[in-house]
Amino acid sequence: MAAAALDAQLAAANSSAPPVAATALSLISDARLYRPRTVLRLADTALRAHRPSTRPFWDAAEQVALAAYHVFDSRTAAQFVRRILDRFPNSSRARLLQAISHESQLKWVDAARAYIRITDADPLFKPAYKRQVALLKSQFKLSEAATLLHDYLNKFATDFDAWAELCALDLQLGRFAHAIFAANELLLLDPHNHAAHTVVADVYATLGGVHNLCLARKHYAASLSMRAASNLRALYGLWLVCATLLDGRLLKDDRDLQVTLRLFRVARKGITAVYRNPTAQSGAVFVANTLGMSVYTGEKRVLKE
């Protein structure tokens, strides 16, 4: 669902109807949005929609506890965590919530110990490993965080989000070969995911050089073939990479040149079409000016050479 439409729905959930509030919380959870203040505002109303013996009630309670941590409302968080622990004293999910309280108070050592206790007792409980990675990142230990995440992925190799996170960490650390590996794992896991192709293309485009730019071109085009409508990131990426290859006269092979020119035109046409849509915002005029900045608005020059 488009973010704007979702936000409109969340705004409507300010009503006092419990089912509406509960639906809003589910929407936020399913779409994995960061809206802790909205969750807290709707908490009391939403929880009235469920009976305390049911799973949706406790899922919502967990969501509220996490939202409270995010805004440093330790009192609300402690209240909900206590209720959850009373109901599920041996649950790893409940113990995780308790361990997060150490993190929220910046007690890194206590938090690390708590997460280790959880993973020792329940080695297949993934969130505890992920919190360990987040804990290291909070302490600026990016290299250790990447190593730990790598170890986690050796155990749970099909975790798409974890590979994306590792890719970002490797980029931040300047480990570009590792970043490429992680990005390509995303493709192996979900080869028909347009976003995975865009991530891979972004990484190759960042590395630069003719070979990498051609690979970026290929993956942006693949992303667009999977999702053509409003895929602005891939459109802009394809336009930029093709313009760089053409303007920099980096291509020697004539066939490569023709392919790049064709894709450049596809990208330019696609971007123009997006902004011609009356619902699109922000600057059709200066987008057109930006697209015109590339030398290769004059295609005849290419063909003559």
């Binding site: 488009a2 973010a3 909205t38 931040q172 972004d202 990131r233 990426g237 915002q281 922000s282 600057g283």
Partner: protein
């Protein structure tokens, strides 16, 4: 040569605050304004990126800078520099990404400022909010670390009204409606119907009537 004095408009200051409030991750954006011989006035801030993968790869930044340049020309302004906030509030380092962005702006315009948001200074204490930004400025051919070219905090002039609006925003008194959420360039690429220039929000920030304290 003394560095120019930088001032920031109410709308630009609070646009950056709103961007930081919306996303708990690393954020980046550009600041536009006018250049004088002794002073530079930051008139608007355009939020760009918030996710890690987009932040540590270059294409979205490159496109966003090109578009921002055109927007600046359209409005008779210049890109004065970039703003950046690290994900961790304690982290005051200037890493690879803000360095590259600021260098790119400096290369194109001759001089640039880098505003690093110190989230720990965003609090109910208005005096602290005044120093929420670490300002680094570089002119001409000067090379080297951006961190070493830091200027004194006082050279970013922030109005009292801007601080009062920031206080109201941070306290959840104003701009709580979902419709008034800030949109950055990355959000716009995910949903082209959203306005990454935040025209309505900027108007709202400029016309806001503050509650009596």
């Amino acid at each position: 040569m003394p560095s120019p004095v930088y001032s920031i408009s109410d709308a630009a200051y609070n646009t950056i605050i709103l961007h930081a409030l919306k996303y708990p991750t690393t954020i980046s954006g550009v600041v536009l304004g006018s250049i004088g011989s002794q002073a530079c006035a930051i008139e608007s801030a355009i939020p760009l990126i918030h996710s890690d993968l987009a932040m540590f790869t270059s294409p979205l930044h490159e496109v966003a800078l090109l578009l921002s340049e055109q927007k600046a020309k359209q409005d008779g302004m210049h890109i004065l520099g970039i703003y950046y906030a690290n994900a961790v509030a304690d982290d005051r380092s200037i890493g690879v990404v803000p360095t590259h962005l600021a260098n790119a702006v400096q290369k194109r315009t001759g001089s640039a400022c880098l505003l690093l948001l110190n989230a720990k200074n965003l609090s109910e204490d208005v005096r602290k909010c005044r120093h929420a930004f670490r300002v680094c400025v570089r002119d001409g051919e000067i090379r080297g670390s951006w961190g070493k070219s830091e200027v004194q905090h006082e050279t970013l002039q922030v109005s009292d009204r801007a601080l009062k609006v920031a206080d109201a925003i941070l306290g959840g008194v104003v701009l709580r409606d979902q419709k008034e959420r800030i949109v950055d360039f990355e959000d716009h690429c995910a949903d082209p119907s959203t306005d990454w220039l935040n025209a309505k929000l900027v108007t709202r920030l400029n016309e806001m009537q503050l509650p009596a304290s």
